[in-house]
């Protein structure tokens, strides 16, 4: 380890550039991991919420609702279907606006918001977005579904939102993955170049060691240790970057996605990220230096 630290002290700028590139890679990997996790959470949130809402005509009977629910429950792709009465709708409304007296007393075209002016509905959770059309078809057949002035059944399903979100999540995943792979390759090549340069500059020492009977591992050990210092140091700085970024962006993110992802981000999440980045840093630094050192040592006599 002393030799490795001495090597770093001898060429601090090379060490800095290696640590910088590993830090940047680790920061991007960390941010990408958090964004992937968050987008997955958001997607899950949308997918688990009632995804189809069918508004019912006033004057429907309990039997009619029961019939519709049983036909929905026998429809393929339906996970859950529940009836929301006018009173339930008012409760949901109150929950959504909180105790704001202004909103609660909002005067609409029909007067102050009361249970009477809110429509009853059926809320359906699908097993997957692909079932939406099938479920909508069942609802279209029902006579108790409210009809718009344009003659369309009032059935809301956020097919576009879900598919857009899925598209964006996949794009983030693919884009992030490409970026991470590219940066990982850059980090590996940087460490390999630096270690190769260092080994090359100590050719005399290495050939002397070999003539003295040193095993290859004895010769490459200090270079592996040096590289691991770059990997772990870079991973720690990258993680610190992620930690600070999340910490400072929490006031911005919390009001926007706070209902989906809990803020502040838990210590467990940061600890997991720390462990993952350290392992990743260790692996890329070890592989790159092992490759560079072994290649050189095998070549020399």
């Amino acid at each position: 380890m002393n030799t490795a630290l001495k090597n770093i002290r001898r060429s601090p700028y090379q060490a800095l550039s290696a640590i910088f590139i590993v830090s940047l890679t680790m920061f991007i990997v960390g941010v990408f991991a958090l964004v992937t996790f968050a987008s997955q959470e958001i997607l899950n949130n949308f997918e688990t919420k009632p995804q189809i809402i069918a508004y019912l005509k006033d004057g429907h009977t309990t039997e009619q609702v029961g019939g519709l629910l049983s036909s929905l429950n026998s429809t393929e792709g339906v996970k859950n279907a529940i009836y929301i009465s006018k009173d339930d709708a008012l409760e949901l409304y109150k929950k959504s606006v909180g105790n704001d007296p202004v909103l609660l007393g909002t005067v609409t075209d029909w007067g102050i918001v009361t249970a009477d002016i809110l429509p009853a509905s059926i809320e359906i959770t699908a097993q997957n977005p692909e079932s939406f059309k099938n479920i909508a078809a069942t609802l279209e057949k029902s006579d108790i579904i409210s009809v718009t002035p344009q003659g369309k059944k009032e059935i809301d399903y956020p097919q576009d939102v879900i598919s857009e979100l899925t598209k964006w999540t996949n794009a983030i995943r693919i884009g992030g993955l490409v970026l991470v792979i590219a940066l990982t390759l850059v980090a590996i090549l940087t460490i390999m170049t630096i270690i190769s340069m260092k080994i090359s500059s100590r050719r005399f020492e290495i050939s002397t060691f070999k003539l003295m009977g040193a095993k290859n591992f004895y010769i490459i050990k200090p270079y592996l240790q040096e590289s691991v210092i770059y990997g772990l140091g870079g991973a720690f700085i990258g993680w610190l970057g992620c930690f600070v970024t999340i910490l400072y962006s929490t006031p911005f993110l919390a009001p926007r996605i706070g209902s989906i992802i809990s803020f502040p981000v838990s210590l467990l999440t940061f600890a997991t990220l720390f462990g993952a980045l350290m392992i990743f840093g260790l692996i890329i630094s070890f592989i790159s230096s092992l490759f560079a050192a072994t290649r050189f040592v095998n070549r020399s006599k």
């Binding site: 005399f204 002397t208 060691f209 070999k210 003539l211 003295m212 009977g213 004895y218």
Partner: protein, 240 residues
Amino acid sequence: MIDFIHVSKSFPNGDVVLDDIDFSISPGEFVIITGKSGAGKTTIGRLLIHDLVPDKGKIVVEGMDLGKIKSQNIPVLRRKIGFAFQDFRVIPDKTVGENIVVALEIAGYDSKKIPEKVKHTLNMVGLSGKEKLFPGQLSGGELQRASIARAIAAEPPILFADEPTGNLDKETSLEIFKLLQKINSDGTTVIIATHDVTLISLNIGSHIHLEKGKIVKIEKRSEEKSEEKEDKEEKKEANK
């Protein structure tokens, strides 16, 4: 035991460095190989540690046939031969002590025993108190002693000293020669490759003289002395 059996070696440019060399060295022997520059003295050393491979012939060192040696056994062979290089090859940015530590680490010494061993070795070669000096701070004679110290630190059974008195004044040369004799008296087989023929006049040890890659003279010392050395080597082994 070292056996060179009809060994020949030439370089890629066609120069014949060794031509049908045949000799053997017994354990504990003190051998001086003489010859002019380019006679093939250093090549014998390099063949001995498998830094070079002969074109023809067979080399056997401590029971290892170098023609059949596996690559993973080359470090094992090299650890059996302490090599004091002509250009010293001491690591310039390591202190004298650190250079010896390297040799001991390579030999697999217990790290706890290394400091004591370094002290003992430096004392043996007359470099006590110079442990923390860098090679650049040493005189030619001291540098040669440091090189020898590193070669013998791990107590290899064989020491090959390549031009150990080259570029040294007569007095220092004699001191180095005496040091090598002292090492030999402890049971180590010592082989000296030198162009300094004055060492022969001291009439110590066996003598092999090379000319243009051929052995022109072999003088073996008395069997009686060899036996005496073998006894010392046995005692040394027992002490280990």
